[in-house]
Structures are given as C-alpha cells and as structure tokens.
C-alpha cells in the first residue's frame, strides 16, 4: 500500500524526521487560509500517487495567498494526469542551499534492506547510479543486525560535512519507519539542506507491506480515505484480487499466475483483458457471483472468460456455483468457461446438462481465450 506524501510526512514526524510545516487543504479557500497561516507564501502540492509532479504542474510556488488559492482550485478541479485530486498539501517556503537523496528499501534480490544516499536531489536514482556513481553511497543492511552508526557514517560519505550529522539522524529515523511501520520503501527525494543549516525531508514516499496491515491498524485506517476505483472497492470487500484494465474480455481465474497468463493469452488471441481477477482457492458460488457482478458492471466488457484449473478447487463445485451465480446475476454477454483439473469432467457435464444460453464451454485454455476474444471483438465490429 502506497501512502500519500502528507501521510508519509505524518509518519516521518512521529519518527523524529524533520519535515516542513504543512497544512492539508480540500478547498481553494482553505489553501488560501493555510498560506496566510504559513506567512503569506507557500508551496502547493497536488496529493496523488504518481511521480513527475514537479514537471507536470503538480507543485506550485505561491507568492501570495491568492496564488495558492488559484493553484489549489485548478488542481482540485482538473486533477493530475487523469487522477482525481481530493487534497492538496500547503507547505511553508524554505530557503534551500543543497538537495540530496535518501532511501531505504527492502531489496528482494538479497532479502536485505538497501540504504542509499546521494549528494544530489530531485533526480532519477537509477540514472545517477549509471552516470555519476561517485555521488551515490549504497549499503545493504542485514535485517537481523539493524542499522548502526558506522553504516550511517559510511552512507553520508558523499555529503558536505556540515550536513552529515543531521542526515545521519534522519537515516536512523527512516530505518525506524521501515522496521516499526512495516514499510518496504521509504524515499526522500529531495532531502534538503537549508541556508540556515537545518536539514528537512521535502518529500516522502512510503510503501507499507499489505501482508503486515493486521499489525499496523493506524495505517490500515488510512486506506479508507483512498479514492480507489469503485469496482476495485467492491472486489476488495469480497476478498477478491481485482485490478481494472482497459480491454473488453472480463477475466475470472483461480491463482495469480494462471490469471496473469490468461490475460496474456487473450491478448495473443487478438483482444484485450478488461481486468485481472483471482477468485482464489475454493471458488464458491458466492465468490463467483460477486466476481461476475464486479466484472459485468464494467461497461467495456463484451465477453467473459472463466478459466479454472482445479487443484484444491473442485471443478464440479465451480460449475454448480457458476449456474447458481447466473440465477442472481443476469449477464447480457456470453461467458466462455474452461475447466480442467480436479473433477473437470463432472464440471463440464453439469454445464452441458444445464445448457444455459449464456454459457459456452471450451476444451482448452487456448481455445477458451480465442472464443472469448472472438465474442468480444465480434460485437464491436
């Protein structure tokens, strides 16, 4: 789960990492009032979870409360790169001497934490690693040992001496966020040295491990304010893994890998998938009904492909569940069903006996994908 900048900064404050004074505004008027409180000048920053805000007009330096109001009005009205904007962050203006970069993330290729500090900020870190490696310090931290002062000293090696002590404190704070909040990434880009010698985190990017939310109730609660897609919300409430995509073939499958593969095979067959949906193990009538409801409320869907490989999941139960689901959800598009694995023959027999006008039974995954693609593109043409 990715946090918004203002949520990340709240976490930073709690772990002793200095951030600029900021106020959240949900209306242009409150952006004006916030700017007045902050001394008449501010930075207005759009709160969305996409990069490139600086270049795309998502960060505005406001020299007057009028400027701030105007910027906030535009952001809240127009959104940012297709994302709806519900909030802007109004922040104090600071006098910046230098920009740096700091991040700690769980490096999956080693299974340890990777800390990085660069003497340049506001940059693409991969680009810097290629072009000016001397400006970057990287260190793997064994999660059993944790971060120690000698790590911190080594990491700040490329920074000006007057900033090192303060940055080391901030790094210790970032590591604290990582461990105590179950984050998999904390990134500050840029980290700034002010002309008065203080060091602040000017931005905050924090990703929290979804598997650990049960022990991070405060972060779990932040989720409720996320303006996610309505269909994704419905699916999540039902415990389904759903991702909305742009194509016309609605997909239901069991197991993440098989579903991903199904999306690819549908594309090979000449159509696009409308979604990723993993019904998980079991695939009960309820789960299938909810899946169908979610998928069919997407107006782009022209056909549905149900691709089940029964391991633990029994195909006869899936077939029965599907028929039961069709009593509750009345689709207007054809549903191509492919069943293999445990009790597949029995499952196919149940579907054939029912002869439901909306169900098309396919023998293999490839055949099913081709059939669903034909149905989807045929309707459009």
């Amino acid at each position: 789960m990715d946090l918004y900048e203002y949520q990340g900064k709240e976490l930073f404050k709690r772990h002793g990492i200095p951030v600029p004074r900021f106020i959240i505004a949900e209306t242009p008027e409150s952006a004006r009032a916030a700017t007045e409180i902050l001394g008449g000048r501010s930075v207005v920053k759009v709160q969305v979870q996409v990069g490139g805000r600086g270049k795309g007009g998502g960060v505005v330096l406001a020299d007057t409360p009028d400027d701030a109001e105007e910027a906030a009005e535009r952001m809240l009205r127009d959104g940012f790169q297709g994302h709806r904007v519900n909030r802007v962050l109004v922040e104090e203006r600071l006098s910046i001497a230098r920009e740096f970069y700091a991040a700690i993330l769980l490096d999956r290729s080693t299974g340890t934490d990777l800390a990085m500090v660069a003497s340049e900020g506001g940059i693409d870190i991969e680009e810097l690693a290629r072009t000016r490696p001397e400006a970057l310090r990287r260190l793997h931290i064994d999660p059993e040992i944790g971060i120690h002062p000698y790590h911190l000293r080594a990491l700040t090696g490329a920074l000006p001496s007057e900033a090192r002590d303060l940055v080391e404190n901030i790094l210790a704070g970032l590591y604290d966020v990582l461990v105590k909040e179950d984050a998999t990434l904390v990134e500050v880009n840029p980290l700034v040295l002010l002309t008065d010698g203080r060091v602040f985190a000017l931005d905050a990017k924090v990703t929290v491990d979804d598997n650990a939310l049960w022990r991070q109730p405060e972060i779990e609660m932040l989720r409720t304010v996320f303006p996610i897609n309505r269909l994704e919300f419905l699916a999540r409430e039902a415990g389904l893994q759903y991702v909305k995509l742009d194509g016309q073939v609605g997909i239901i499958g069991n197991g993440a890998g098989l579903v991903m593969s199904t999306l690819d095979v549908v594309q090979q067959a000449g159509a696009g998938a409308a979604n990723f949906l993993d019904v998980g193990g079991g695939a009960s009538a309820d789960a299938i009904a909810t899946s169908l409801e979610v998928i069919l409320s997407d107006p782009n869907v022209r056909s549905v492909l149900v691709n089940i490989f029964g391991g633990i999941t029994r195909c006869d139960l899936v077939a029965a569940g599907l028929l039961e689901a069709l009593e509750r959800v009345k689709p207007t598009v054809q549903i191509v069903v492919r069943l293999d694995g445990t009790n597949a023959e029995e499952g196919r027999r149940i579907l054939e006996a029912a002869a439901h006008p909306r169900i098309v039974v396919a023998g293999t995954m490839l055949e099913a994908a081709q059939r669903a693609a034909e149905l989807a593109t045929g309707v459009i043409a």
Partner: protein, 294 residues
C-alpha cells in the same frame, strides 16, 4: 534420487491439526509420501488418522526421524515454524503459508543463511517428485513420472503447464513451486543448479512472472553454468506497471521487472520462451526430440 523430495523423505507437518494441514497432509500420505508426524503446541499425544502429534519439531524429529518440514500454520506464526525447523536442522523446509509480512520473512531468511536447511516458499504450492513423494498442495493426479524438471513462482499456472506436458506424455522428475513472495527460499538459481546435477533430469522448464530480477539472474546462470536445455514461460506481458497482480511479488516497478525484459534476458541466454502454456509444452517436446536424436 530425485531432487529435494524422494521416496525416503520423512515429513513432519506444522499445523497438522488445522483444517488445511490435515486435508493436505492426508492427501500427501495417500499419494505415498511418508508423513511421519505433526506439530501443534499443546496437542502432544493426539493423532490425526494415526499420524502422531508432538508439541515441538525437536520432539517429532527425535521420535520419528523426520527430515523435512511442511508448514501450514497461519501467517503470524509461520516464520516461527520455519525457525523451529531450521534449529532442528531438517534438510528441507516447505512453507505453504500465504501472507507472511515481508519483514518477518527477511529476518528469517537472514537467520537461515549458513544453516544446513533449504527453504522452499513461503506462499508456494510445494514440491513433488511424481510417483515418489508429494510435499505440499500440488495435485498429484496431474503429474506423471519422467525426466523433465520444473521450477515455478506460481501455483495454478504450474498445474496448467504440468497438465500440458502430461497430456503430451512428457513426465516430470521433480516440480518445485518456489512461491510468489518477494523474499523467498530456494529460487530459480538454486533449483536450476540442483536439476543440472540431477542424473534423472534431461531438461528444465522455468515458469516466471513479472516483478523482481530472479529470471534475469537465472538467465546469467544458465548462460554460464547450465549444461541441460531450459525452456521458459513468463506470465504478465500485459500487466500494467505499478499494479500488483495478485502475488505480493508480482509488480512492475517503473521499467523494472517487466515480462519483456525477462524474456529478452532468457532468450539472450539461449532459452526459448513460450508465449502460451501450450507453446511451452510444444517447445519442450521438440527440444527433447532434438536431444534424443543428437
């Protein structure tokens, strides 16, 4: 002797008395696997259809000589079961549990470094050597004994590809489900190395997906070390960046971890990458025919 699990493998099941553990352990036993013990703290002295239950893995090992641990306990207790198995120096630990916090897993993986136990998983379907031993949740019926090794990050997708192989009469030496989590035990590299040395394996199928760089590192290994043919499949060509596709580890971050980059790396190492599971099985069949005729 097949890799990882074989006839002599003796399994102790953590969470045997739970619903999942009981169901799968009994299935594994029915397949012919030696399920010798279960562990549930506080339930020592009970049994599950004749399989004795102990309080600790150490007790189970002392009594039964188990050498492999199979873990079904819920996510918040699973890393403890892994550590306990490692401290009993079992040869192999297979952790099926899905949803373990990655930080817990990173600390556990760190502790396991330098220990004699190999870990498979977590969030994995387990390991099967068809006709000999099945440790985990892979449906035994879809496999047939043979000489193709298989290693995968996925569950049902593995079944799909095994099924396609079996339908063509191509049997498997061992299928390793390494799991879909970002921090995991045995990976492609270690599995490929085991298959490379296994006299009962002629060809290896590796099934990857978006996210991380396991496949890229496997490509390097294959180019340098692998003496047997490898055929690959990568899922997620159409996955959009920044969206997690079910598995915790299946995410394209920026330009990294894409299916295309992985397929390119593998093809550069001489590994053909099938675009559909059916094509993978066809590639395996033609490679085996080439090897047989050369």
């Amino acid at each position: 002797m097949a890799i990882l699990v074989d006839g002599p493998t003796k399994v102790v099941v953590s969470g045997l008395t739970g619903r999942e553990g009981r169901f799968h352990a009994l299935r594994n036993r029915a397949y012919g696997t030696k399920i010798v013990a279960g562990v549930t703290p506080g339930k020592a002295g009970q049994d599950v259809e004749g399989i004795p239950v102990f309080d600790t893995i150490a007790d189970a090992v002392a009594e039964t000589g188990a050498n492999t641990s199979l873990i079904f306990v819920p996510p918040r207790f699973a890393t403890e079961a892994i550590l306990e198995a490692a401290d009993s120096e079992l040869d192999l630990i297979v952790c099926i549990t899905e949803g373990i916090p990655v930080r817990d897993m990173a600390r556990t993986a760190s502790y396991l470094r330098g220990k004699p136990s190999s870990l498979v998983g977590p969030n994995c379907p387990g390991v099967i050597s068809p006709g000999r031993s099945n440790v985990g949740i892979i449906p035994g019926e879809i496999c047939i004994p043979g000489r193709v090794g298989l290693v995968s990050r996925s569950g049902t997708l593995t079944y799909q590809i095994v099924h396609e192989l079996t339908q063509r009469g191509i049997g498997q030496s061992t299928c390793v489900g390494m799991g879909g989590d970002p921090v995991h035990g045995l990976g492609f590299l270690e599995s490929l190395a085991l298959f490379n040395w296994d006299p009962e394996t002629d060809l290896v199928v590796m099934i990857g997906e978006i996210g991380g760089d396991d496949e890229e590192r496997a490509a390097e290994y294959i180019a340098q070390e692998m003496t047997k043919p490898v055929v690959a499949y990568i899922a997620g060509f159409t996955a959009p960046p920044g969206k997690r596709m079910g598995h915790a580890g299946a995410i394209v971050t920026g330009s990294r971890g894409t299916a295309q980059a992985k397929a390119d790396a593998l093809e550069a190492a001489g590994v053909p990458v099938g675009r559909t599971p059916t094509e993978v099985a066809a590639l395996v069949q033609s490679r085996l025919a080439e090897t047989a005729s050369s």
